[in-house]
């Protein structure tokens, strides 16, 4: 399809009835790609009661928003989502389609690309346009971050990938930006679903899910016992952050699996990662070495975690963490529980 290049699309993510901030991060990536291609940037929103929530997408960089607002799409149902997206892609033929590498994005896209018979690259940390071929250059880590690969999808369209949450900051919202909102009805056949959503059990944890957190206070076996581990919760609470853990700490039941950072846990990209009593095994580094700033507290001067630390403190976490807690009495940081 030379000379009729399609648009760049992002999949907006709706959680609890609101547009989630990962959608704006995607638009920051998408804006860069669309500008380099000279094409439009569109965001796709599927959900129920979302038709009036498109402004934030335009303010964050979208030129076009496609909305499919149907009660059947109130919760994520793989078949209905997929059928609606297949219909949209076939109608509008985007050049590029990116989603966030959240649990939803990492389910929607691998089902969709099978139907579209195109390429899909997982969990990218960098995206660009190749100046010569105008192809999407997708950069992603593999083998626990020990390898970075550049990947292209030369012959099939759309070029699809998921993008690691927090790999880019959203653009500053511009309330004066105008865009086109195209409301589509879902076809009855597309909306029919064999999946039934039964309930949602919210986890009672300090702060946001670690994938969304700007600050993570993480602990390992070096915290010695659950009581000491609770110090980290206090620090996280006061900083408006969330608690992360090494596998050892999770195996010892000091933290839930949802807090595990690393190769067999979550990959996180907070602004600040505070590692307390964590040795820094390659499998742990795999999940956190992309943090903006790493602070490490460990008694062992040779602990590998110090190699990825911006600030390292050789010392006893049980002495240092309370000092950090004392620095901000009563929770003076940014408010927890909000995306940004």
């Amino acid at each position: 399809m030379p000379n009729s290049r399609g648009d760049v699309w992002t999949l907006a993510e709706v959680r609890d009835g609101a547009i989630h901030s990962v959608s704006w991060e995607l638009l920051a990536w998408g804006r860069k790609l669309a500008d380099k291609l000279g094409s439009r940037l569109a965001s796709v929103v599927l959900g129920s009661g979302v038709a009036d929530k498109t402004d934030s997408l335009i303010h964050h960089g979208a030129d076009v928003v496609y909305v499919v607002d149907e009660p059947e799409l109130a919760t994520y149902r793989p078949d209905a989502y997929n059928a609606v997206l297949v219909s949209l892609v076939k109608e509008y033929k985007p050049e590029i389609f990116i989603a966030s590498a959240t649990t939803t994005g990492r389910t929607v896209m691998p089902v969709l690309y099978v139907d579209l018979e195109t390429g899909l690259t997982a969990d990218c940390t960098g995206l660009d346009i190749d100046p010569e071929t105008k192809l999407l250059l997708q950069t992603r880590p593999a083998i626990g971050g020990n390898v970075m690969a550049d990947i292209r999808t030369p012959n099939t369209r759309p070029q699809m990938c998921t993008v690691r949450p927090r790999s880019k900051r959203p653009l500053a919202p511009d309330a004066n930006r105008r865009g086109e909102v195209i409301v589509k009805r879902g076809a009855a056949a597309d909306l029919a679903s064999i999946y039934q959503f039964l309930s949602f059990d919210r986890e009672k944890a300090v702060g946001l899910p670690i994938q969304d957190a700007e600050i993570i206070v993480a602990g390992g076996k070096g915290m010695k016992n659950p009581k000491n581990f609770a110090l980290l919760e206090e620090l996280a609470r006061r900083l408006g952050g969330s608690v992360g853990a090494s596998r050892q700490a999770v195996d010892l039941s000091w933290a839930p699996y949802s807090a595990q950072v690393g190769l067999s846990g979550k990959s996180v990209t907070p602004k600040i990662y505070i590692a307390c009593g964590i040795s820094g095994a390659v499998q742990h580094l795999a999940g956190m070495s992309a943090a903006d700033t790493v602070i490490a507290i460990n008694t062992d001067p040779d602990a590998p975690i110090f190699r990825v630390a911006d600030i390292g403190i050789i010392g006893n976490a049980m002495e240092i963490v309370p000092k950090l807690i004392d620095m901000c009495p009563g929770g003076c940081g940014r408010k927890g529980g909000e995306a940004r």
Binding site: T103, R106, T107, P110, V111, V114, E117, T118, G119, L120, T121, A122, P141, I143, G144, N146, V147, M148, A149, D150, I151, T153, P154, T156, Y195, Q196, L198, S199, D201, R202, E203, L208, P209, Q211, I215, L239, G240, Y257, S258, L263, S264, G265, V282, Q283, V294, V308, D310, I311, G312, I313, I314, G315, I320, L324, M327, C328, G330, C332, G333, R334
Partner: protein, 271 residues
């Protein structure tokens, strides 16, 4: 219950060493093992078999050496295994792999439940499980943290998603990509190992799967790896010794946190 488990053989991750000089991965002497996250898929199938009865088929796509991974799954309690292997599969990306695996699953039999790990520790894409499910036309569930019930042709399960767990249901056949928290895998017993040694693992090659060559391997892969880099993860940060300078260290952290707005300049205790 007719069950299948999809497994992958991966380089043993605890042995990953990076050559400090060249920054490349040292591959010599790195042992292969069953992808650790797949152990949970095998375990869940074995538990369901213990509860509901049935048979478990292990299926792996990979080099002939992947037979060892299949054997270790059989030793944990699976019944039979198939190896999908052919030189023509070399260079498959996740789409070509999923298409090939799905054809292998069809060849291996009919299944009510198919299990896969959340992702492999080498490629780390997590794309193959759901894509195989799509090719097979099964109900697809990712991030499965608990199987609540399998009854009357319907499965109810929990998924670990951001901020909590959701309970969902769909008809069988279903493909489940399970997360680590779903169970603790058992160790294989000696009897299991002996049984695995006796179990023949038939080969499914390209010819037997009947997929056109154009859809296989590198040629059938829409994505192309154009460059591989070995990043050095070192930051050369500032290291303090709490013994020599306890306050300096804490102050440095404090300044950094304040710079990022995590701590306000004039600390108010208003909240």
């Amino acid at each position: 219950m007719r069950m299948a488990v999809l497994i992958k053989q991966v380089p043993a991750t605890e042995n990953i060493k990076i050559d400090e000089k060249t920054g490349t991965m040292i591959r010599e002497g790195v042992e292969a093992e069953l992808n650790p996250l797949d152990l949970h898929a095998v375990e869940e199938a074995v538990r369901l078999k213990e509860r509901l009865g049935g048979e478990i088929t292990v299926i792996s796509m990979g080099p002939p050496a992947a037979r060892r991974a299949i054997a270790s799954a059989i030793a944990m309690g699976c019944d039979r295994g198939f190896l999908i292997s052919d030189r023509k599969f070399a260079g498959s990306d996740t789409l070509a792999t999923s298409l090939t695996l799905a054809a292998g699953v069809r060849k291996a039999g009919e299944f009510d439940l198919i299990f896969a790990g959340e992702r492999a520790t080498d490629g780390e894409t997590g794309q193959v499980g759901p894509a195989v499910g799509r090719y097979l036309g099964a109900s697809v569930f990712t991030y499965v943290s608990k199987v609540a019930s399998v009854e009357g042709g319907r499965i109810v399960l929990e998924r670990a998603v951001e901020g909590g767990h959701e309970t969902v249901a769909a008809p069988l056949p279903a493909l489940l990509c399970v997360v680590k928290e779903i169970n603790t895998p058992r160790l294989c017993t000696l009897a299991g190992k002996m049984r695995a040694r006796r179990t023949e693992i038939p080969l499914l090659d390209a010819a037997s799967l009947g997929i056109p060559d154009a859809k296989l391997g590198l040629g059938g892969s829409p994505t192309k790896v154009v460059r591989v880099m070995y990043p050095q993860i070192t930051r050369n940060g500032k290291i303090f010794s709490a013994a020599d300078d306890p306050d300096g260290a804490v102050r440095a952290v404090f300044d950094l946190l304040r710079e990022h707005g995590a701590i306000e300049e004039a600390t108010s205790d208003a909240e």
